[in-house]
Amino acid sequence: MRPAASLLLFTTLSGAGYGLLAVWALSGLAGVLPPEPLAGAVGLVPALLLIGGGLLASTFHLARPDRAWRAFSQWRTSWLSREAVAAVATFAPALVLAFGWLLGGRVPPLAAFLSAAGAGLTVLCTGQIYATLVPVPRWHQPLTTPVFLAMALASGATLAVLLTAALGSGTTAAGLTALVALPLAWGLKLLWWRSGDRAPPRATAAAAIGLAGETPARLVEPAHSAGSWLLEETGFRVARRHAARLRRLALLFGVGLPWPLLALGLLAGGGWTLLFALPAVLAKALALAIERWLFFAEARHMVGLWYGEAAV
């Protein structure tokens, strides 16, 4: 699948944003963070900016963004519609939370709770969009949504470490969350990669032309020598070797570097936390970009069966 910049930006930015929103809201709710306007602002403003930026990026994926409003209508069947609804709905408690915290100097508990829940729900919807796509076997597996959720939490928590360190309070809770979420997310990712790699193909080219019994079937005359939108969408290929290298890089930057950095920073405390959290956040961002790029680039769509793939 084509790693479209709009989708990479959307899923990573909004994922991190919802993760941060959830961590911040829950921290506020739990009283780990003080109900001071500054404490609210340091986390909620970046979170909402990330979410907003991601949502904005997502509209670049639409060929007709002028009709994006229609996406709220089909929440009964469509995970994309649900995601849209959840994303926008989450703004309501998030804004209440932000107003309460930033202007009122208090953390409204219900809004905080709903913000966190909305954030989780939105990321869950995002994960489900992919997880329910039967024609893309690598996405269509049980771990897809958990990976999205864990990734969002890990990104949000890592960011939270940096922000709480800058703020000077709540760092420990954020840090512990990050130290748990990071290995969890990347561990799940590793499992997800493995199961994707090991899953037997869902269909062969022979089956795709209705001759499942006859093997093998090879494409010898492409339908068109010219291209098409669908082929551009689905025909993206990344070499296995290249992908393996990128996976190692992603693991390194996603957990290999940030985890010890965060751990050391937390142990050292004070200004060290901030100093160590900064590279950890940057590494994690880079890792996220790679991970999301691979998420698309490694996924194969079944339509490839009619375009030269022996099996998908």
Binding site: R218, V220, E221, A223, H224, S225, A226
Partner: protein, 951 residues
């Protein structure tokens, strides 16, 4: 019925005839507000019964192509390099008239007028004769003249043009070397019908695509060896006696006596009575009788002593003797053909079974030429069809004759389930007339007394000078190609450039892309078109006039371009005088009508030709008072021209009240009648006249009535081709006209009156196997030669071609799928991209025909895949054959008909070393875009206009 322009309101359906290929299907053009919105098939039409192919549907994009020429053009600088400039029609016609008049007044032969895939040869040939030049032909010589000539000299009809397989009734269908065929839609409909009935289809073809893909059996034959396979089948049938002896005796020359008097001038000719009628021995009385004596019962065996004492034997006995020889057995054929002997034997058995076991009987009483009444016709449900896989080889004529021999032995001609003649065939074997163009028939300022093309019956009908040199620029009907019934378009440019046999002044081409896919050795041809004589500084081919409708490669090399309309903008005729759309059970012809008015400064070529005819004062185009005979152009000509009294271009609705068929005075409202009937005419033959036409008295009489035959005499098929023996006798030193020394052995070898097989000269010239692979092209279903690439829809389907190689062969050469490869023949190298396939004979490589394009042409951007990755095999095909019988080399062609031997090409394929650029070669400089052609739009939203209109 008249043209309608854009802007007209409402929606309408207009019938006409497709011209996206030569199949000539009936189409309906759906117009919305005057713009074509949909093209579909006319369900009432005899050819396509409502279906259209991919090209047919894409006719709209053909018509709306940005590569359409917009106005007459004149060259200002160098051919192929410098720009053309737009001129007015007046100036264009002036120039053409001046050039042509000069030639006509001095030596009309200096005009070579050659047309391509057009369908107005009845007009263009007539025009050439009126002009007075013998140098006229159409594309048939490089297309399928082997099939046409072999059929005409054997049956009086031929594959495709004048015959069709009866797939509604066939049980077994053999296809030799057929990819798309001319009759594409009828063939597909027929295959579907056979499939539905459970008939068996056998494809004999080195390549397994298209029709071969759905065949029950695919016999991957080595190119150029079909003759061996067919003669092995003949051997098997003869050995087993599974032949239709009564049919042979009644309907063919099998019982005709052949003189056996070696060393004499009459050796190998039919024994004849003093009136010239061939003789046979009556098998009941033993008497010698003329073969066309209604009382004769020809014996197929036994030598006789003629009254003059010479010995003679029936054709059949000579033939059986030859082919019963074990040398013709399946074992002998297996090696060279690559088809295992058991398969050949099984095929022979299948042929016999299908033909003779419980044959169907059509209870349709009929009367034979002897006046005997029959209760019906016994079917021979074995159909055979063959096309360019046979034709495009230098042994194609004899191979095609061998196929007809096989059909005749089975009696599988014009019976239910077999090959059937299409009206106006059968015609006499060989048909009248002989070609015209001998020195005494050509004179300045005068028409020739006959047509330039025809069917010679012996040396006396050749067009040669007293010293044996060819009279025609293409050497057709000379000793180099005696039965060149369609001329040799592929030799014209080379010969004219060499001045062999003589230089010409004006080359006038129409609808033939001679600077690209219809040339052999394309780069060489281009060099010839641009070569100048150092002595005079003039081009060696001084003046080139060309009519095309599109910005093709050849336009760039013309000095004067006459832009044609598209097929939706003009009148055309698919005439009985040319290539009608006849069917086995009906006389048919058709027209095209202008569906749209041209939106550019273009004119129908036929109108232009008729106008030039008048400007030049050609008698048939000029009234006695000097005015134009056909002021209404081609439409006027179609209605009013009479080739012979009562016989005009169109057969339907003749006579003042439109009631006459075939023959009758002109009907001024004839075109309206065609239009009212969907632009075609169909006259179905009544029962009793549909089968066994060559010997069916009622049919023959009907054919005379309709003007298809001049005499109601039986037409006997010829197993034995006596005209060939006449040439052979000349080669042996008999007669006043004899071949030049250098060609004697060649004529002796190839002009065998019985079919035989010989390896291609290309193969013989490469005993070491330096070029171990055969290379052939195939027609893609969705492209027509070079004209598909400017079609925005079709080029998306096939915009670049690959070289398909058998997986095993490629692996042995270290070639993987997608590798760039170098393909080398004895005349050059090109690059191609390899594709590994299973469905090809391992000793053969193949590609789609004419997909590679010259950069800059056809309105495409110069970096289009057609030019960068596509390739043209023609660069590798020599115009001249290997080796040589005389000083000047001979055309790369069949020695009998001059048919271009495209598919004899032999190549070597190598992987291109990494680092070398993988682009198509040779890289000719991009052609400049002619003035006035629009820049193609970057986005096409065809159809939006109709939505807008409907809202």
């Amino acid at each position: 019925m008249t043209a309608s322009g854009a802007g007209e309101a409402g929606s309408r359906v207009v019938c006409t005839t497709c011209y996206m290929c030569a199949c000539r299907c009936g189409i309906r053009v759906h117009l919305e507000n005057g713009r074509p919105r949909f093209i579909d098939g006319n369900r009432a039409h005899p050819v396509n019964r409502g279906v259209v192919c991919a090209k047919g549907s894409a006719g709209i994009m053909h018509h709306e192509s940005p590569a359409r020429l917009r106005a007459p053009l004149k060259r200002v600088g160098e051919r192929g390099r410098d720009a053309l400039v737009e001129i007015s029609w007046e100036e264009a016609l002036d120039i053409a008239t001046r050039w042509l008049a000069e030639v006509r007044a001095t030596d009309p032969r200096k005009l070579a007028f050659f047309t391509g895939r057009d369908q107005s040869q009845a007009l263009t040939g007539f025009w050439a004769a009126q002009f007075g030049t013998p140098n006229y032909a159409a594309h048939g010589g490089f297309c399928s003249v082997n099939m046409a000539a072999a059929g005409m000299y054997t049956l009086g009809g031929s594959f495709w043009e004048f015959g069709e397989p009866d797939l509604e009734h066939a049980r077994l269908f053999l296809m030799f070397g057929v990819a798309e065929d001319h009759d594409s839609n009828p063939l597909k409909l027929g295959l579907a019908a056979m499939k539905a009935r459970g008939g068996r289809i056998v494809a004999i073809n080195p390549v397994r695509t298209g029709y071969a893909a759905i065949a029950d059996d695919w016999l991957p034959i080595r190119p150029g060896t079909d003759g061996l396979l067919v003669l092995a089948l003949v051997h098997e049938l003869l050995r087993a006696g599974r032949i239709d002896a009564p049919y042979l005796a009644e309907c063919t020359d099998a019982g005709w006596l052949v003189v056996e008097a070696p060393g004499t001038a009459g050796d190998g000719l039919y024994a004849r009575d003093p009136a010239g009628r061939p003789l046979c021995r009556d098998r009941r009385t033993g008497a010698l009788l003329p073969a066309d004596d209604p009382s004769a019962a020809p014996s197929l065996r036994g030598a006789v002593s003629l009254p003059d004492g010479r010995r003679a034997r029936p054709v059949f006995e000579i033939l059986a003797e030859r082919f019963l020889d074990p040398g013709f057995g399946p074992e002998a054929a297996a090696g060279p053909t690559g088809i295992p002997a058991p398969t050949i034997r099984a095929l022979a058995a299948e042929l016999a079974r299908a033909a003779f076991e419980a044959p169907p009987f059509v209870a349709e009483p009929w009367t034979d030429w002897r006046g005997r009444r029959h209760a019906g016709v016994e079917g021979r449900p074995v159909s055979i069809h063959a096309m360019r896989g046979i034709s495009a080889h230098a042994n194609g004529f004899q191979t095609c004759r061998a196929i007809h021999l096989l059909q005749l032995l089975l009696g599988a001609i014009d019976r239910p389930g077999s090959f059937r003649f299409k009206a106006p065939c059968p015609r006499p074997v060989p048909p009248w007339p002989v070609p015209c163009g001998n020195p005494w028939q050509v004179a300045p300022g005068r028409p020739m007394p006959g047509m330039p093309l025809g069917y010679p019956t012996g040396p006396e009908d050749l067009l040669v000078e007293a010293d044996g040199r060819p009279c025609r620029i293409d050497k057709a009907f000379s000793w180099e190609a005696p039965l060149a019934a369609h001329g040799l378009l592929h030799s014209v440019i080379g010969n004219a450039w060499r001045g062999d046999p003589y230089p010409i002044e004006v080359l006038f081409l129409y609808m033939a892309n001679m600077a690209w896919n219809s040339a052999m050795a394309t780069s060489e041809t281009i060099a010839m078109l641009t070569d100048r004589d150092p002595a005079t500084g003039r081009y060696r081919i001084p003046k080139i006039i060309y009519s095309d409708a599109f910005w093709s490669e050849t336009v760039a090399y013309a000095d004067l371009v006459l832009p044609d309309t598209t097929f939706l903008e003009r009148w055309d005729a698919l005439s009985l005088l040319d290539r009608p759309i006849g069917k086995a059970d009906a006389l048919c012809d058709a027209i095209r009508q202008p569906v749209l008015a041209p939106d550019r400064d273009v004119r129908p070529f036929q109108d232009v030709l008729i106008e030039l005819g008048h400007r030049l004062g050609l008698p048939a185009f000029t009234r006695e008072d000097g005015g134009p005979r056909y002021p209404g152009g081609y439409a006027d000509y179609l209605v009013h021209h009479e080739r012979a009294p009562g016989i005009g271009p169109l057969a339907g609705w003749r006579g003042p009240d439109g009631k006459l068929i075939g023959k009758g005075p002109p009907n001024p409202r004839q075109l309206e009648a065609y239009v009212a009937n969907g632009c075609f005419f169909e006259h179905r033959f009544p029962a009793g006249r549909r089968y066994m036409k060559p010997v069916n008295r009622d049919y023959l009489e009907l054919a005379v009535e309709l003007g298809m035959l001049s005499r109601a005499e039986p037409i006997f098929a010829r197993l034995y081709c006596e005209p060939l023996q006449r040439f052979r006798l000349a080669a042996r030193g008999h007669g006043a006209l004899q071949p030049p020394e250098a060609l004697r052995a060649r004529i002796e070898r190839y002009f065998d009156p019985l079919p035989f097989w010989y390896p291609s000269p290309e193969l013989e010239a490469d005993p070491e196997g330096a070029f171990p692979l055969a290379a052939v092209t195939q027609r893609p279903a969705a492209m027509y030669h070079s004209w598909g690439s400017h079609n925005a829809w079709l080029r998306q389907i096939l915009g670049e071609n690959r070289l398909c190689i058998a997986r095993t062969t490629a692996r042995a050469l270290g070639i993987e799928d997608g590798d760039p490869v170098r393909v080398t023949s004895r005349v050059g190298s090109i690059r191609a991209i390899a594709r590994l396939v299973e469905g090809v004979e391992p000793g053969t490589v193949w590609t789609w025909n004419a997909i590679g394009k010259r950069a800059g042409a056809w309105g495409l951007s110069p970096d289009a895949p057609e030019a960068t990755r596509g390739f043209l095999l023609n660069h590798l095909i020599d115009e001249l054959g290997p080796g040589s019988a005389e000083g000047a080399r001979l055309a790369n062609a069949d020695p009998i008909t001059g048919q271009a031997a495209w598919y004899d090409l032999r190549v070597r394929v190598e992987k291109i070393a990494p680092g070398e650029p993988a682009l198509a070669e040779p890289r000719l400089a991009p052609l400049p875009r002619p003035p006035g052609l629009p820049d193609p739009p970057p986005v096409l939203t065809w159809g939006a206009v109709f939505r807008g209109a409907r809202r």
